[in-house]
Amino acid sequence: MSPVAAPNRHGFSIDRAVEEGPAGTVHVRGRLEFLDAGALWTEARKLVVSASTPRVDFDLSKVEAVDGGAMALLVHLRNRLRAQGIASEFVGASPNVQEIVHLYEGDAHLRAVRKRRPEGAFAQIGRTTLTVVVETQLVLAFLGQMVLSTAATLRAPRTGNWREVWPTMERVGADAVPIVVLINFLVGFVMAYQGAVQLKQFGANIFVADLVGLSVTRELGPLMTAIILCGRSGAAFAAELGSMKVSEEVDALRTMGLGPIRYLVLPRALGLFLAIPILTLLADAVGILGGLLVGLMSLDLTIVGYLRETARAVTVWDVYSGIIKSGVFGGAIALISCQQGLATTGGAEGVGRRTTSAVVTTLFVIVLLDAGFTVLFHAIHR
């Protein structure tokens, strides 16, 4: 019998006795601590990998102490030997050490662990399809509940959570004024600047007012405002309702006879629906002001001239169409965000996932609706 590995500078030593016959023994000595886990793993693995006998036991009789991390590594190596068809046991452990061996199932029979197979293409398609079906069911159920709750609230207005509408309008409307003003002013400014470069070449400076006025009132005012509210209020709605869902607050509401749709969703939807047209009007105004600034600075236009041209180009219908759009966008933001929030499951991760999903879905739907409105308004107002 001769040692294969020499003692090391750590609190333990490990070597394998090379014996005549079918059995080999790995002798472990000293204190096996997690701090030395790296060295223990390297040395023990070296001995185990080179094992060629049909049986390799771990002799723990000289082990003074062992902690959980070190034991876990030895058990893993023992299991690996067994998986290779080499019989292996921990032998000679003192009662204290044996308790740790038992705790880490070092004395248990190896059970075949079924490896999870990677999901195949068909399984992935199937799972995704089911997810889409379930999500569709959730959305349809939500819309159905919305209709029922709205009807019930209209029948018995006292049961509505009207007190929440005004604070919601303040949060989604008044509090969003600075960002809506800044973004839309810059949009009008940039559009005028880009347009001016082209129009100047033809001496058509004044038509910058037409370009900005029409673009802002018909498209960019409602769209940019909706996008801002989607990121600001939609995400807030989804996260708020999602947090309430996972902390059982929604369940608590239901057990008090307060339906979450009636109590949480309707006031938010109404608040957003009422606030967004006002913000859109503001967006239209500051967008035009952004264009005016460019007109004054680089196109030698006068304030009166610019505004008169804007008034000539932009009709009342242009403003109305933007307002109609914004109302629908507001409804979409509120409903999608609240639906996603109430569909939250799990914990903080679920809230994050649903919030992301709410924003992405809402943006997609807003752009889709905008395209639809553009075609529709073009058709009816030719």
């Binding site: 709750s149 607050e249 369940d251 608590a252 006879g257 339906g259």
Partner: protein
């Protein structure tokens, strides 16, 4: 598993199967809860105690079986004033409202009381649970025990005759736990409140519970029902004995 003929059932559960998706937790559960008793749903973690309570309060719709609470099917909660109060494991106070607003919410919704009258009732309910003067605090400013008490005050706001409590002692220190048990006993004795409590705290069980059922995870069924002390002393089922004698085993 049923009560005596003379007793009136506050809750009747018949042939109820509970679970979600393709997971079944309990099959064909049938039991009654008598008016005025403190009834406990016992069992080890994961056996479906809290899920069963969700069915009893109508948060889940039974696919199979029936749950009748105070003479009505425990469904369609959104349609009116509920006949019971529920205290969730976490308390589930609305974090955006003060404690006073939390307790006052059901009163504002379901009564015609003036704000002053609601305020008076809120203060009285908070005093009842030993929380004087916390009306203007936010739930985040309360300790675990105070949160549970505030949740009880909210659940009691509409003077229900039935109170559900999901693991009221969970996460509380032993002293607060005992105080909460005493509060439940007082509410039961003084107001004649029927209480259904989900728990696995032995001290609570023997102190406050008048009758119980024990759910089993493996067999997905009710394996025992009766008075806790009787079950501990005379039930021969090994699982029941293991549940009731775990404290002495641990020592």
């Amino acid at each position: 598993m049923t009560m005596g003929e003379s007793e009136e059932a506050m809750i009747r559960v018949a042939d109820l199967t509970i679970g979600w998706d393709d997971v079944t937790l309990q099959k064909n559960a049938s039991f009654d809860v008598a008016r005025g008793e403190i009834f406990a749903i016992l069992g080890v973690s994961g056996c479906g105690k809290s899920t069963l309570m969700r069915y009893l309060v109508g948060l889940e719709t039974p696919v199979r079986g029936t749950v009748v609470v105070a003479g009505e099917a425990a469904q369609h909660l959104d349609v009116g004033r509920p006949p019971f109060g529920v205290v969730f494991q976490s308390g589930a106070l609305f974090t955006s409202m003060t404690v006073g607003e939390n307790v006052g919410l059901p009163l504002h919704t379901w009564t015609d009381l003036t704000p002053e009258a609601v305020g008076a009732i809120v203060s009285a309910k908070l005093c009842l649970v030993g929380l004087r003067g916390v009306e203007d605090k936010l739930p985040s400013e309360l300790s675990g025990g105070m949160t549970k008490r505030a949740a009880i005050a909210r659940a009691m706001a509409l003077e229900p005759s039935l109170l559900f409590l999901d693991e009221p002692s969970a996460g509380l220190d032993p002293v607060t736990s005992v105080e909460l048990d005493e509060l439940i006993l007082v509410l039961n004795r003084a107001l004649g409140l029927t209480v259904v409590v989900v728990t696995h705290e032995l001290a609570s069980i023997f102190k406050i519970v008048s009758r119980c059922i024990m759910l089993d995870k493996e067999s997905q069924s009710i394996i025992a029902s009766g008075i806790p002390g009787d079950l501990r002393d005379s039930c021969t089922d090994e699982r029941v004995q293991r549940f009731f004698h775990r404290a002495s085993r641990a020592h």
